[in-house]
């Protein structure tokens, strides 16, 4: 059973510098046809050929889902990262041909919600831009609280203000403005759903506050894709395909498996969706579990690994792949 939807061959139509850290990219289909519709919160995997290294990074779609003429993403430059965002910033130009995966939504709105309370930090704003466009078109109620480091880095704030007026609240760290979360959570009508996307610390803070305030688990949604961390190279035995591969320092295990020509499933490439879960047949060493998917018990048992983000240190790792 394959979950693979056909990939989308695109041309880069526009590259826009949004601020010092963020660039926006707009893609259109190479054959001129419409893009598949999507739901607010969906992401696509962007395939890059970074001078011989294949990189595949997930980015939230931020355009209006009703606009089928193209897809937009925003990419924040990460100097310390493995290079995907640097490649997008330094090498992707209008007119270039690229390939996108089909949209997948791991951060969907709950359609039953009476009201949607959206909390964004920094580049975490992007899925909300698509969600607000969709909610606005369908008459859904929402309220956005959006924090950025400073005014210069508050991407899209003026446009969102203009579109949604006082439903948009902005906060700036360097002006010591903080979202008054307890008051915000206490003041919501019954049937409100809470969504948070942003840095790890913010997600943890919002989820913990909601739990403390008695919000049911099912009403609190978060999206946190992890970037695969850089690490020390290691060797892996792929038992099912009879190959031994080496995972480079700035390569993920999943990328190394793919580079060896072995097919492996994935959806998010960020440790969140569970799709890449792989059985560990033998392990003499330590698996660095970096995902949000496996339970603590599963991680401790050392019998499963999520190759999109996790790494290994030790003598032998044998995978059922």
């Amino acid at each position: 059973m394959s979950v693979g939807a056909p990939k989308i061959p695109v041309t880069v139509a526009e590259v826009t510098e949004v601020n010092d850290l963020i660039k926006r990219f707009r893609f259109v289909r190479r054959d001129g046809g419409p893009m598949p519709p999507f739901s607010g919160g969906a992401h696509v995997v962007v395939e890059m050929d970074d001078h011989g290294t294949r990189r595949m990074n997930p980015y939230s779609l931020m355009g209006d889902p009703a606009d089928s003429t193209g897809y937009c993403i925003s990419v924040r430059r990460d100097e310390a990262g493995r290079g995907g965002s640097l490649y997008m910033h330094h090498h992707v130009r209008p007119g270039m041909q690229m390939v996108l995966g089909a949209p997948v939504n791991l951060f969907a709105l709950d359609a039953r919600a009476r009201e949607h309370l959206l909390i964004a930090g920094g580049i975490g704003i992007t899925p909300f831009i698509a969600q607000m466009a969709q909610l606005e078109a369908l008459g859904g109620r929402f309220e956005l609280h959006y924090a950025a480091r400073n005014r210069a880095l508050g991407a899209y704030m003026p446009a969102l203000r203009a579109a949604y007026g006082d439903r948009v609240h902005t906060y700036f760290d360097d002006e010591r403005q903080l979202i008054d979360l307890p008051a915000l959570l206490a003041g919501q009508p019954l049937g409100t759903h809470l969504y948070v996307c942003g840095p790890k610390g913010m997600i943890g803070w919002v989820r913990a506050s909601a739990e403390a305030a008695g919000w049911p688990r099912a009403t609190v949604h978060h999206e946190e894709f992890l970037a695969p961390p850089v690490g020390v190279p290691f060797t892996v035995d792929l038992a099912a395909s009879g190959k031994v591969i080496t995972v480079g320092a700035s390569q993920s295990l999943l990328e190394a498996i793919e580079a060896a020509g072995v097919e492996a499933p994935y959806l998010c490439r960020g440790g969140a969706c569970g799709q890449c879960e792989t059985a560990v047949l033998a392990c003499d060493g330590h698996i660095q579990h970096n995902d949000h998917w496996l339970t603590d018990d599963q991680k401790a048992s050392g019998t499963r690994i999520m190759p999109c983000v996790s790494r290994f240190e030790g003598r032998t790792l044998v995978l059922d792949r």
Partner: protein
């Protein structure tokens, strides 16, 4: 190749029948001589020309008669079609999926013209010519799901996805094998499957749900389900039990060939793009035993499958009491010869 639509009934005088061509293209669900529940899903990609898999949604000779039967059921019991308020967007997704597929696959029967959100839909067999505004319910005579499923064969359910589960929260269900939308609406995947024997213990539902939660738009899958029905009655619902329940006691060696039907459901699963819901079309095909045995391989194989089916499954499917009569009838068409793999008829 023009399609000729039968004039036939699924109630009263039961004039339903399959043409020889419809028999040959019947989706016989058994690819081997025995059957057990499994996670039997495969990509719903276009199949060979002429088969029921050729197109995303199969339109066959029973189309108009099935749509007339659906209208009769709905007139008597409007609760066969329900959509919880938050499922309207999924209904639009379904309408778009069906209209686009049919206009693409049957251009002589259906047309869809789009100008932004102004859409024009033509359904020639049903003589419908409708202009409407996509996503504006006030421009259609029914809600989007009801509108399009009054023009599409088979039952349809829409599942919302949240909390790592699927919730059946809308549907058009008039041709079902003894389950009720009105009863199931709002339930989660394991809950609505609760009555099914053995499959839970086999882990079938755990694995199926895990797979479906990751289903991608543009990559639909399909599976078969099957049961037995006395007389070509589409509406074997619990609500309608007084009508069809007693017919199970009327099967005799003399009438089993003409009254017992193999009922096959070709089920497909589609991720819907705007709502992130999952559509589950359940397309029902009926074939009389005496039609089915005209394909020698199918007569042989059905005999073996029915004879050896675990009693829990035969009981759940409602034919344990008639099993001996069915097996005796089918045995006449089983010479013991080996059957070829796969479900396709052997070449003549």
């Amino acid at each position: 190749m023009g399609l000729t639509f039968n004039t036939e009934t699924f109630r009263g005088d039961f004039t339903f029948h399959n043409s020889p061509a419809a028999i040959r293209r019947f989706p016989f669900p058994f690819d081997r001589d025995d059957y057990m529940y499994s996670v039997n899903m495969e990509p719903h990609v276009p199949g060979p020309k002429g088969t029921v898999f050729e197109h995303n949604f199969d339109v066959d000779e029973h189309y108009l008669s099935e749509m007339r039967d659906r209208a009769l059921v709905l007139a008597e019991d409007p609760l066969r079609c329900q959509s919880l308020p938050h499922m309207t967007l999924a209904g639009w997704d379904l309408l778009e999926l069906i209209m686009e597929s049919k206009a693409r696959d049957y251009p002589d029967l259906f047309e869809l013209h789009k100008n932004g959100n102004r859409w024009h839909w033509i359904n020639r067999p049903m003589q419908i010519d409708q202009s409407f505004t996509f996503l504006d319910e006030t421009t259609l005579p029914y809600g989007p799901m009801e509108y399009i499923t009054r023009q599409a064969q088979g039952d349809f359910t829409l599942q919302d996805q949240r909390d790592d589960n699927l919730w059946i929260e809308a549907g058009m269900v008039t041709t079902q094998a003894d389950w009720s939308l009105d009863f199931d609406i709002g339930m989660g995947f394991h809950e609505w499957h609760a009555p099914v024997p053995k499959a839970h213990e086999l882990g079938v539902f755990d694995r199926a749900l895990k797979f479906l939660l990751k289903l991608q738009h543009g990559a639909p899958v399909r599976r078969f389900n099957w049961t037995m029905t006395v007389d070509p009655l589409l509406d074997t619902s619990p609500e309608n039990y007084p009508v069809w329940g007693p017919t199970r006691a009327m099967i005799t060696p003399g009438n089993v060939g003409s009254r017992m039907h193999l009922r096959v459901e070709l089920q497909t699963l589609h991720r819907l793009p705007r709502s992130n819901a999952i559509a589950f079309p359940i397309r029902c095909y009926l074939i009389r035993f005496d039609e089915l045995v005209t394909i020698p391989k199918w007569g042989r194989r059905l005999h073996r499958v029915i004879r050896d089916l675990p009693v829990e499954l035969a009981t759940y499917k409602g034919f344990e009491r008639n099993r001996a009569t069915m097996v005796d009838y089918l045995a006449r068409f089983d010479d013991g010869a080996p059957t070829s793999p796969g479900w396709m008829p052997d070449p003549e």
